[in-house]
Amino acid sequence: MLPIIGALVVLVGAAFMVLAAIGIIRMPDPYNRIQAGTKASTLGVVLALIGLGIYEIDLLPKLIVIALFVLITNPLSSHALARAAHAAGVPLADETVRDELAAARAPKVIEEETAS
Amino acid sequence: MIFVDVLVCAAMIATAIAAVFQRSLISAVIMVGFISLMVSYLFVRMDAPDVAMTEAAIAAGLTTVIFLIAIRRTEDTESGDKE
């Protein structure tokens, strides 16, 4: 019974991964791709690891440690990518409603220029 | 599991060809990173987990950084196309 439950959990996780891949293909700009891609797949990966741990019960502690590492490091990399995209001046999609970070950045640059 | 291996091999070949014809060198570095990821998976499938672990540790951290430093010291695009 336990292997079937574990395999079903892995199946749900894999479905979330496919959804993340669809999201990374369909979304219009890098920020939305980070939203749909790398972060939506976090739940998929964690579910798949837990499911494999239920399937093969000996591996469960190690897989939980891997899942914890993924949960800690994944926000770091997606935050770094989003920040790099904004600093490199990657434009936001046409649907974008507002961009307060650019508004907050713009006056400061002018101040620095007048100061120097 | 064998069809996963076939898919992985096809993905590797496609990525390698794309990396050769890529103009932006940073994109080529990213593609090489993906290829080494898949090489690591194939090492695991071929019953060599120690080699795969070394490949993972070297490729994930070291090669990318070394490539990026090398690109920083030279140029961003391939020579010959002054656009």
Binding site: A21, V45, A80 | -
Partner: protein, 86 residues
């Protein structure tokens, strides 16, 4: 029964890998390619563990462990380069 479901799930993960590969190859900008590499690394971790479970060798899990710890380093280096250069 359980094995069939497991192989289906791993095949689904491989399909997600191929779909993410499309973004890696066709991505319009470098940041998009880095995002795709991040996603592909993340998908590969369960594939490695799946190979370990399929072969019945617990040693294989250590490779996934190394990727879980170190995978974000490459992406972090890329992001830092794209932001201001190393």
């Amino acid at each position: 029964m359980a094995e069939i479901i497991l192989v289906t799930a791993l095949g689904l993960a491989a399909v997600a890998l191929i779909m993410g590969l499309y973004r890696l190859l066709a991505g319009p900008c470098t940041v998009t390619r880095a995002i795709a590499l991040d996603l592909l690394t993340l998908i590969t971790i369960p594939l490695l563990v799946g190979a370990a479970v399929w072969a019945g060798r617990a040693v294989y899990v250590d490779v996934a462990l190394v990727y879980g710890i170190l995978a974000f380093l490459g992406v972090l280096a890329l992001a830092r380069y794209l932001e201001k250069g190393i």
